[in-house]
C-alpha cells in the first residue's frame, strides 16, 4: 500500500469513526447518566435517515430537512423519556433490554407503515456534490469531508456543553450522585429529559447527515447498533471522551481490516473489544 493510498484509507477511517462517535456519544450519555441500556438507539439513527429522505423530498433542501428532522427527533426523545423510559431507571437491565428490544420491532414497523420498505437515496446537496482529486484515478468526495467537519463541530459543542456550562455541570452532578443533586434543589427530572433528548437528537442527526452516503433502507438501525455498543464498551460507559477515542479506533480497525485482512474483517473489531476488556474490564476511560 503506497502512501497516498494509506492517507486515503486513513481519511476513510476517521470519517467512519466520527460518525460512529455521534451515535455512541448519545448512547454512552444515556447509559452513564440514567443507567438505561437502550437497544433501540439504532432505530433513532434509522428514523433520522428516513426523515432526511422524506423531508428533503418535501422541502427540496437537505439542510432544511436536517433542521426539521432534528427538532422532531429531540421532541420524540423528550416524549419517550417522559412517557416511558423514566419508569425504567430503577428496573434491572433485563427489563430494559426487553423493553427496548420490543421498541425496535415497533419502530421498524412504524417506519414500514409510514414510509414503506423501499430502499431510498438522498441526494448530496448540489453545493457539496463535487470531489477533490487526490491521485490521477481517485478523488475524495467533499461531502464526506463536510460530514466529518460537522461531527467534529458537534463533538466540540458537546464537550463545551458538558464541561463549560451550568447545564453540563448539573448533568455531571446528576451522573455522579442523583440524590444529592436533587437534594440541592436541581430538577433532576428535567436533566434526564434533556440528556435523553440530546442522545436521540445526536443519533438522528447522524442518520440524517449520513443518509446521502449510506442509503436509506430497512434494517439499517440494527447494523449500526451493534457497532455502537462496541464503541461504548471500549470507550467506557458514560465517558464521551472514551466514546471518541474508541470510535476512531474502531474506524481504523474496521477500515484497515477490510483492506488488509478481509477474512477477519468482520471479527477484527470484536477482537479489539475483547482485547481491551481483558486489560481494562471497564473500558478505556471509565468514569
Amino acid at each position: 500500500m503506497d502512501f497516498a493510498n494509506f492517507l486515503i484509507q486513513l481519511l476513510n477511517s476517521i470519517q467512519y469513526g466520527l460518525l460512529l462517535f455521534m451515535l455512541a456519544a448519545g448512547l454512552t450519555l444515556i447509559f452513564g447518566i440514567m443507567g438505561v441500556v437502550n437497544l433501540a438507539h439504532g432505530s433513532f439513527y434509522m428514523l433520522g435517515a428516513y426523515m432526511a429522505w422524506f423531508f428533503t423530498a418535501q422541502f427540496d433542501s437537505l439542510v432544511l430537512a436536517i433542521v426539521v428532522g432534528t427538532l422532531l427527533a429531540v421532541a420524540l426523545g423528550w416524549l419517550l423519556e417522559w412517557g416511558l423510559f423514566r419508569f425504567f431507571y430503577h428496573r434491572d437491565h433485563l427489563d430494559q433490554v426487553l423493553l427496548t428490544f420490543g421498541l425496535i420491532y415497533i419502530f421498524e414497523e412504524l417506519r414500514s407503515i409510514l414510509w414503506g420498505d423501499d430502499v431510498h437515496a438522498v441526494q448530496v446537496p448540489e453545493l457539496l456534490n463535487w470531489s477533490i482529486p487526490l491521485t490521477d484515478t481517485l478523488s475524495y468526495p467533499v461531502y464526506r469531508l463536510v460530514m466529518s467537519g460537522i461531527c467534529i463541530a458537534l463533538a466540540v459543542g458537546l464537550y463545551l456543553l458538558i464541561s463549560k456550562t451550568r447545564l453540563g455541570m448539573k448533568i455531571r452532578a446528576g451522573a455522579f450522585n442523583r440524590e444529592m443533586t436533587e437534594a440541592l434543589g436541581i430538577n433532576i427530572r428535567l436533566i434526564h429529559g434533556v440528556v435523553f433528548a440530546l442522545g436521540v437528537g445526536l443519533a438522528a442527526i447522524a442518520g440524517m447527515i449520513a443518509s446521502p452516503i449510506a442509503s436509506v433502507y430497512p434494517g439499517m438501525g440494527s447494523s449500526v447498533l451493534i457497532m455502537c455498543f462496541v464503541v461504548v464498551v471500549i470507550g467506557g460507559i458514560g465517558s464521551v471522551r472514551g466514546a471518541l477515542v474508541a470510535a476512531l479506533l474502531v474506524g481504523l480497525v474496521d477500515t484497515f481490516g477490510k483492506v488488509l485482512v478481509p477474512q477477519l474483517a468482520g471479527m477484527a473489531v470484536y477482537m479489539l473489544m475483547a482485547l481491551v476488556l481483558l486489560y481494562k474490564p471497564e473500558g478505556l476511560f471509565k468514569q
Binding site: 428496573r91 433485563l94 426487553l98 428490544f101 420490543g102 421498541l103 420491532y105 415497533i106 477474512q263 470484536y270
Partner: protein, 329 residues
C-alpha cells in the same frame, strides 16, 4: 445492579398440573388426525427445541443471575458442528455426534466464559454479545465455513442403533420430546442440589457468597459452560430438524429471542422457560398469520409483558391460582 427478581422455584400445584397436562398433550398430539399434520408436527418440534434452548439460558439468567446477550453462539456452534460432521451422502451416527457437538459448544462456552465471567453487570451483557458477534462474523466472512449462505445438513443423524429413524417426522418429534423432558428433569434436580443452591446464592448476593467462602468465579464458569452445552444440544436438534445452518443462528436476534422467551415465561424454574418458548413462538406465528405488520404487534406484546407481567406468565399464573404449597418437580 442486574439482579433479576426473585423467582418461583417451587412450582405451585396449579402450574404442576399444567405442566403435566401439557406433557400428556404433547405426547398425544401425533395421534390426532389434523389436516396438515406434518406441518404442525414440525412446528411443535421446533417449539420444543427452542424450549430446551430457553431452559439452558434460564440456568444462566434465572438461576445464576448472569444476563447473556450472546447465548445463541453456543446454539449455533453445535448446529454447525453437526453440519460439518455430516457428509454429503451419508448420515452421521447420533450416539457420538450429539455429545461431540454439544461438547464443542460447551468447550467454546468454557473458553469464552473464562474471559467473560470476570466482568459484571452491563459489561457482562456487552461482552457476551461481543463474543457471540465475533463468532457470527467468523462464520459469516469465511466461505470455508459456509459464509453468509450457510451449510446444509443433508441427512438427519442415524439413530438406528436405538431403533429410531430420525428422518421420520414422528420419531423425531418423540425424540425431541424425550430430550425436552430429560433436560427439564435434569435441571430441576440441579436446581435443588448444592450446586444449584450455590448458583442461586450467587444471584442473590455474590459478595456474601464469597464472604462465606465460595469460589464464585468457578461456580459461575461452571454454570456458563453447562448452559452452553445444553444450548448446544438444542442447536444440534435444530440443525437436524431444519437441515440448514447459517450464521443467523448465532446472531444477536436469536440471543435476544432466547432472553425474551425466558422472561416471558418466568425465570428461574425452567418451567417458565418452556412456557415462554411455546408462548413466544405461538404469539409470533399468530401475529404473522394476521398481518404483514406483525412486528408492530410483536413489539407491542413485548412491551406489554415488561410493563404488566414483570415476572412472566408464570408470575401471572401465580397471582391467578394463588400460591400454595407447591413442589419441587
Amino acid at each position: 445492579m442486574s439482579s433479576p427478581k426473585a423467582t418461583l422455584e417451587k412450582l405451585p400445584r396449579g402450574v404442576q398440573v399444567l405442566l403435566g397436562v401439557g406433557a400428556l398433550a404433547l405426547a398425544a398430539f401425533p395421534f390426532v388426525p389434523v389436516d396438515g399434520r406434518d406441518f404442525y408436527l414440525q412446528m411443535i418440534t421446533q417449539m420444543m427445541i427452542l424450549a430446551i434452548f430457553a431452559m439452558s439460558l434460564d440456568l444462566l439468567q434465572g438461576v445464576t443471575g448472569l444476563v447473556s446477550l450472546g447465548h445463541a453462539a453456543y446454539f449455533g456452534l453445535a448446529g454447525y458442528a453437526l453440519a460439518f460432521l455430516t457428509p454429503a451422502d451419508n448420515p452421521v451416527a447420533l450416539w457420538w455426534s450429539l455429545p461431540l457437538a454439544a461438547g464443542a459448544a460447551g468447550l467454546a462456552a468454557l473458553v469464552i466464559g473464562f474471559f467473560v465471567v470476570r466482568t459484571h453487570g452491563i459489561y457482562f451483557i456487552m461482552v457476551t454479545m461481543a463474543f457471540a458477534q465475533m463468532i457470527y462474523f467468523l462464520f459469516f466472512d469465511n466461505k470455508s465455513l459456509g459464509g453468509s449462505d450457510g451449510i446444509y445438513v443433508y441427512f438427519r443423524p442415524d439413530a438406528s442403533a436405538v431403533g429410531i429413524d430420525l428422518e421420520n417426522r414422528t420419531h423425531f418429534y418423540y425424540f425431541t420430546l424425550a430430550a425436552l423432558i430429560g433436560v427439564y428433569l435434569l435441571l430441576r434436580r440441579l436446581l435443588f442440589s448444592p450446586f444449584g443452591r450455590a448458583l442461586s446464592g450467587i444471584r442473590v448476593n455474590e459478595h456474601r457468597m464469597r464472604a462465606v467462602g465460595y469460589g464464585t468465579f468457578g461456580y459461575k464458569l461452571a454454570a456458563f459452560t453447562l448452559a452452553g452445552t445444553l444450548a448446544g444440544v438444542a442447536g444440534y436438534l435444530w440443525a437436524a430438524q431444519t437441515g440448514f445452518v447459517n450464521p443467523e443462528l448465532m446472531g444477536f436476534h436469536m440471543s435476544a429471542h432466547a432472553i425474551m422467551m425466558v422472561i416471558l415465561g418466568g425465570m428461574g424454574n425452567f418451567a417458565g422457560a418452556i412456557v415462554g418458548a411455546f408462548a413466544f413462538e405461538y404469539v409470533m406465528h399468530f401475529f404473522k398469520d394476521m398481518t404483514k405488520h406483525w412486528q408492530l404487534l410483536m413489539g407491542g406484546f413485548i412491551v406489554l409483558v415488561v410493563i404488566v407481567a414483570p415476572r412472566g406468565l408464570l408470575g401471572l399464573g401465580e397471582k391467578m391460582f394463588g400460591r400454595n404449597k407447591g413442589g419441587r418437580l
